[in-house]
Amino acid sequence: MKARVHVMLKEGVLDPQGEAVRHALGALGFDGVGGVRQGKVIELDLPEGTTEETVTQMCEQLLANTVIEKYEIELV
């Protein structure tokens, strides 16, 4: 089985890289992009039967820094 973890900066945490991407889109002529937030997607190959709880522990301990980031787990 696989799990896909989406990690994003929490609301209100400054995202300098997303802001640079927004500027670059404007420079390409894509007007009106109000905001860009950049995160990461982490795909995990896991033994069958791994619980969401285990993946949550992975997120809490390593995959996300919950001081500034939030995460969502998708079991696939």
Partner: protein
Amino acid sequence: MRAAVITFPGSNCDRDLAVAFESAGADVVRVWHKDAELPANVDVIGIPGGFSFGDYLRCGAIAANSPICRAVVDHANRGGYVLGICNGFQVLTETRLVPGALIRNTNLKFVCKPVGLKVENAETDFTRGYAAGAEITIPVAHHDGNYRADDELLARLQGEGQVAFTYTDNPNGAAGDIAGVFSENRRVLGMMPHPERAIEPLQGSADGQALFRTLIEGFVTA
């Protein structure tokens, strides 16, 4: 007085940090990240700058979960002293030994230059060698030194004297101009500027020397 300097794969300021501790009179032991225990009788742990584990995932995140870091956390929880500089500061935020987090500089540039710092709290074992409010010059060299704390945490850090140093001219967008923070018990200090690169006039500034000297002299007189 014994200082342990930790080396991770990708650390590059470990030797400079060892020299800074030695020149201040400490007996220095070098420790590899895979060691699960610290050598006996270590008083201070230094976590150096660099790019541990290639800054993969998040700066400092993988180092913070290495075997030696469990021993570092235990040492801090026993009231031991820890100094984390640059990548070492990032490691300390990842272990939660100091509050807040560090992200990419607001202007997205790697900044490498001497910066002015104001000593915000000169009543700790790290900063007693400076006058309160003193302005000193120490170099920074980082891409991810933008300190983040929400308004509540920021107010608490400022109110409780947990801010060690602020930038006089903020180079990275850090909240509250924060360059360095203490743990609640003031025995863990994380800072982005490199005091170990300012310990003798040949380096352009010797303003970092007082930090090491004061910390180590504290043990001699204690």
